[in-house]
């Protein structure tokens, strides 16, 4: 087995006096879609913040064989660890195209045009709307824009936070299909989701999180029918 | 918190210590707080430098003789930073802590109004050459004397001259800032214009420190006036004249300013555009003004320029006259008693580099203004009660120069 692309061991993190993550372990292998599921407040978003080092964390954090801990926070991004943040965090009064260009903000290579092509192929709708202000689009389109923007950064690993949040099931299905395409392009994905079955429908492996801890992990095929997943959401009586 | 209380205690201790007086022998101290820094430092420096030069000169000539004893003059000068609150405090300090014998004034009417209250409270004379507003001298104060003439008559000699020039201007645009001094000028000038039989076609005031006069100038241009009489501050005069040219406003006959024209700054800043501008001054560095210490006004101007690197104007001369007033008054009173000296000042009558110094019953001097004009880049006196030099008149339009 090859070395994991992202490797987290024994991570603890929190906000000031409030600890949120406890002894968390997680890995993503090249070419995988990994899901991190759990109900609200389980600490999923905190995990992403700890990975992108917006908040301080203890424990091992290695990406692509390199220890990120001693590096400045921007290092994760420049090394290809790209995030689609919760709530999309678009630039609302900029056009779709400008939002995408912001994804390629640091790139100086000749591949930006190609990335545009790639994004527009994955999301034909964005091409149609490229002159529209991002703030005026529907939730699904905004999510596409946010994912497209992340792809423009030429990621080695794409982390998506609550992709399905507030979106109609049809739209979620479309986005899930696109995730498969993204994997096909060779980009692994860490999908942090509340919608368990949406996540399971594309992921290879999954982690189940409850109150800051990983309670289950394994291939999706195993977890699919595991009662403990439902319990993690709706309590142990199930 | 403890530390801050300790700090307060230290302050209080300092307060207690400062109660100790200081004494001096065979020295007469003149106290002044002038604008050495801050927004009006530009004019304040005239007073600072003139006071110092006059004191130096008088001491070199032997000082002041009182009752057989010779005293040297000493200057205790503070910088009020163009802060009127600070200036009041500094005058109190000069009178009460530094125990100066007499006071010289600051620059500008609003400073003099507040600072002279200190002189009046402590009954120490203040002779000032920096404020001419009627408000200073209408309060019935006994200890304030001013060597700048009252504002109302500033345009007296100009209007007299205008009556003698051909073609005679028939319409006037009167423009004045809305501060105390300039409102007084405008008020007086209105009467004078009426008396001269001319018509006021435009009568506008503007907010102090304005930098844009295009609206007023547009009105003036539309009214096609023969002359403009303007009253305000030096920077505004400069702006006004520049904008006259920019908007191509040329009165048929002439335009005149209360301030600015006599200064070197004005000519330097405007170059040949300064030509034809009439102005006024109570003072010119003229050899006809004889002086006990400097010889004459021209000598004063020469020494002043040599020492400070710029030309004195009437502010400086007025300041020097303030110092001289004290020497005459003290020697006449034969005493350093403030009340006696005050009475002696009130009856002053001497020739100086500035003018014949004689105070009116309200404490203010009265002087005719000398009309000046910039001719080919040179400042020329033109008229007092007779023509001194030929005026360049009427002023040609801007595009015909």
């Amino acid at each position: 087995m090859s070395e994991p692309l992202l490797n987290i061991q024994g991570m603890n993190a929190g906000y000031g006096p409030v600890p949120v993550l406890f002894d968390l372990t997680l890995s993503v292998m090249p070419g995988e879609i990994v899901a991190m599921v759990g109900s609200n407040g389980a600490g999923k978003t905190t995990l992403l913040r700890a990975i992108s080092r917006i908040i301080p964390a203890q424990g091992t954090l290695r990406f692509n064989g390199e220890d990120l801990a001693p590096l400045p926070p921007e290092a994760a991004f420049t090394r290809g660890l790209v995030q689609v943040p919760e709530g999309r965090q678009l630039f609302p009064r900029m056009t779709v195209e400008e939002n995408l260009l912001m994804g390629a903000h640091l790139r100086r290579d000749k591949g930006v045009e190609a990335s545009f092509e790639q994004v527009y192929t994955l999301f034909p709708k964005l091409k149609e709307r490229r002159r529209q202000l991002a703030g005026n689009m529907s939730g699904g389109e905004q999510q596409m824009c946010a994912m497209g923007r992340a792809l423009m950064a030429n990621p080695k690993l794409l982390m998506i936070d609550e992709m399905s949040l507030g979106l109609a099931p049809v739209i979620v299905d479309q986005l899930l299909a696109i995730l498969n395409d993204i994997r096909a392009e060779g980009i692994p994905v860490l999908l942090v989701e509340q919608d368990v079955f949406a996540a399971f429908s594309v992921a290879d492996r999954a982690y189940v999180m409850e109150t800051g801890r990983v309670v289950r992990e394994g291939p999706v095929s195993e977890l699919q029918n595991d009662q403990s997943v439902i319990d993690a959401y709706l309590g142990a009586a199930h | 918190m403890k530390k801050s209380l300790a700090l307060s205690a230290a302050l209080l201790a300092a307060t207690a210590l400062s109660a100790l007086p200081a004494a001096a022998e065979n020295v007469i101290t003149l106290g002044a707080s002038v604008q050495m820094t801050g927004a009006t430092a530009n004019t304040g420096r005239y007073y600072k430098d003139a006071y110092a030069l006059a004191v130096e000169k008088i001491n070199a000539a032997g000082g002041v003789k009182v009752g057989g004893k010779t005293y040297k003059l000493k200057l205790d000068m503070l910088d009020n930073q163009s802060d009127v609150n600070l200036s009041v405090r500094q005058y109190v300090q000069l009178v009460s802590s530094d125990k100066v014998n007499f006071l010289l004034g600051p620059f500008a009417s609003n400073f003099v109004i507040s600072d002279s209250s200190v002189a009046e409270k402590y009954q120490i004379p203040m002779v000032e050459g920096g404020g001419s507003s009627g408000q200073i001298f209408s309060r019935g104060y006994k200890y304030v004397f001013g060597t700048l003439p009252p504002a109302g008559n500033y345009y007296g000699s100009t209007l007299e001259m205008m009556g003698k020039l051909k073609p005679t201007a028939k319409t006037v645009a009167l423009v004045a800032a809305d501060d105390s001094f300039d409102v007084s000028v405008a008020k007086g000038t209105r009467k004078l214009i009426k008396k001269a039989g001319m018509k006021i076609a435009v009568d506008e005031s503007y907010a102090e420190n304005s930098s844009d006069f295009s609206s007023i100038l547009t009105k003036i241009k539309a009214a096609k006036v023969d002359s403009i009489l303007w009253s305000g501050h030096e920077t505004e005069a400069l702006n006004f004249l520049r904008q006259m040219k920019q908007l191509n406003v040329s009165p048929a006959d002439m335009y005149a300013f209360t301030v600015g024209v006599p200064t070197a700054d004005f000519r330097n800043a405007l170059g040949k555009d300064a030509n034809y501008a009439f102005g006024m001054t109570t003072w010119l560095p003229d050899a006809s003004l004889k002086d006990k210490w400097f010889g004459d006004a021209a000598e004063f101007a020469k020494e002043y320029k040599a020492k400070y690197g710029y030309d004195p104007d009437y502010h400086a001369a007025s300041g020097a006259a303030d110092v001289e007033t004290y020497v005459y008054a003290i020697e006449k009173a034969g005493s350093l008693n403030p009340k006696k000296v005050r009475d002696a000042i009130a009856s002053s009558n001497f020739d100086s580099l500035y003018a014949k110094v004689k105070y009116g019953s309200n404490g203010q001097i009265n002087l005719p203004q000398i009309v000046v004009q910039i001719q080919d880049g040179q400042l020329k006196p033109v008229y007092t009660d007779h023509f001194i030099n030929k005026p360049m008149y009427p002023a040609p339009a801007w595009d015909k120069r």
Partner: protein
């Protein structure tokens, strides 16, 4: 005719007003700093242009871009070294520190340049030409055109260049901008530098129309502030329109009510705009 001339005056002067406010609006919108030292920066720009003109003999309109480069560096350093230390602090603290800076800049200028007033007075400063009965001052027209040109350039930079895109992105969503590799410290310094350069240009033009002393800063800050609020912070052209609006309002006030009332109008407008539409007034780029 008087009215037409007055309106023309208002428009031309308003363009310069707009330029004065442009830098303030940019810094406000992006850094969320209401820069009370903005007027002092305009003043400094005026002096830089003045000395380039008088000492180096460079035509003021040629000196303008040079002054802008110098002012850019100054603004960059100021943000990088000083304002950056409090940029996340409460708004009150940013107001106080920029007020302190205004004092420091003013009195440093007084020590360096003395309190004498200066004018940038090229030979053509008073030139004018008639257009259909109206008089157009060459310098004022030029100042107006420079203001429009600089607003256009700023618009172009903000909307068409990667740097401007990053500036707008940072103003709209600092978190997301950081996420995509924008270094806000550099970007803030660059933005403040641009704002300062624009202030410098305004100062140079101001020196040609009016005159410079170290103390003009405070009132120019107030004026810029009023215009930034009235024009809004979202688009350089709106700021210029805001300036023109204030210019016309002041001219009309001077014509119909009296020149001493012009400040009532501009400050009154400010209060009204804020009370009626606060959110529109202060929205970032």
């Amino acid at each position: 005719m008087v009215l037409a001339q007055i309106l023309l005056n208002g428009v031309l002067l308003g363009g310069l007003y707009g330029l004065m406010a442009l830098g303030m609006a940019l810094v406000w919108g992006v850094l969320n700093i209401v820069n009370l030292s903005h007027g002092a920066l305009i003043m400094l720009g005026g002096y830089v242009t003045y000395y380039l003109f008088t000492l180096a003999g460079i035509d003021p309109f040629v000196a303008l871009p040079i002054a802008m480069v110098i002012m850019f560096c100054f603004g960059f350093a100021l943000q990088w070294g000083v304002l950056n230390l409090i940029v996340r602090s409460k708004m009150l603290n940013t107001l106080l520190i920029t007020f302190g800076l205004q004092v420091v800049l003013t009195f440093t200028a007084q020590l360096l340049f003395t309190a004498d007033f200066r004018t940038i007075n090229p030979t053509y400063a008073g030139n004018n030409f008639p257009v259909g009965g109206l008089t157009v001052s060459v310098v004022r027209l030029a100042a107006f055109l420079v203001a429009i040109a600089l607003a256009s350039i700023l618009w172009f930079v903000l909307n068409r260049l990667p740097l401007g895109r990053a500036i707008r992105a940072t103003a709209q969503n600092l978190t997301a901008a950081r996420l995509y590799g924008v270094n806000p410290r550099v970007l803030y310094a660059v933005t403040f530098g641009i704002g300062t350069a624009l202030a410098g240009a305004a100062g140079g033009l101001y020196g040609m129309i009016s005159n410079l002393t170290p103390y003009i800063g405070a009132s120019l800050t107030a004026k810029s502030f009023v215009i930034a609020i009235i024009g809004g912070l979202s688009n350089p052209f709106y700021v210029i329109f805001g300036g023109i609006f204030v210019g016309i309002a002041e001219s009309l006030t001077a014509l119909y009510i009296g020149p001493t009332y012009t400040d009532v109008i501009s400050f009154g407008l400010l209060v009204v705009v804020l009370v009626v539409r606060p959110s529109r007034a202060v929205r970032a780029a």
